[in-house]
Amino acid sequence: MKLADIRDLLRAEVISGGDRLDIEIRSCCGADLMSDVLAFTKEQTMLLTGLTSPQVVRTAEMSDLVAIVFVRGKRPGQPVIELAGEVGIPLLATEYPLFEACGIIYQHGIRGTAPREGWQRAENE
């Protein structure tokens, strides 16, 4: 699925990085705890979050995440938008809350990053 499809599904506004809507999204992660993101995501993952601090962009940069969607109508400030521009990570914003936004994307076939054997097994059963 392309980032442009995610934008359409979530009726999201593209805050920045509009020239990169053709990137491929392979998996997603919904989280407000950055250490969980740093510990459990794979590269090529898109992050959905309700946090708008610069640390969200830094976390995405370090973990090689490919895009960030802010949920619940939250908007980052100008410094965060600039930082995302510097590190080349597109930013989107949707009115959907985190649970709904994740649910919509999941319904369209995108999966999580399945880091732990426990729930990888559960999915296969």
Partner: protein, 141 residues
Amino acid sequence: MSEQGVNLEFTLAKYDFDGAGQASSKLKRLLQQIGVRPEVIRRIAVSAYEAEMNVIIHSQGGKMLAVITPGQTVLEFVDSGPGIADIEKAMTEGYSTAPDHIREKGFGAGMGLPNMKRCADQFDISSTVGTGTRIKMSFNH
């Protein structure tokens, strides 16, 4: 790159949330220029960032030192206290003393130290209450 490698040093200030991540970001860019494998860079960047955040959040401030040679990257974080009384407990997944205002910024899951240990090829932590904490991590390229 010469055999002596490249040395970097960054100062990390307490509660500097605007500057947080700059050191790890510069390190990551340098490793990309050198041509280290992306999978290795990712482990180094994640560990550096977790350690950087810990110094900024939990300590009075400190520094990050990086020595990059052709074969490996060695990171050292030294801070000026308060130190960690029970390292074993601090290394447990989910253990955190981060206050609410830190959690609101997205930290305080208690995953940082275990994550560093998992990412690094060698991980060493020592701490003295009242003096400070020192973390040394090595990553083979």
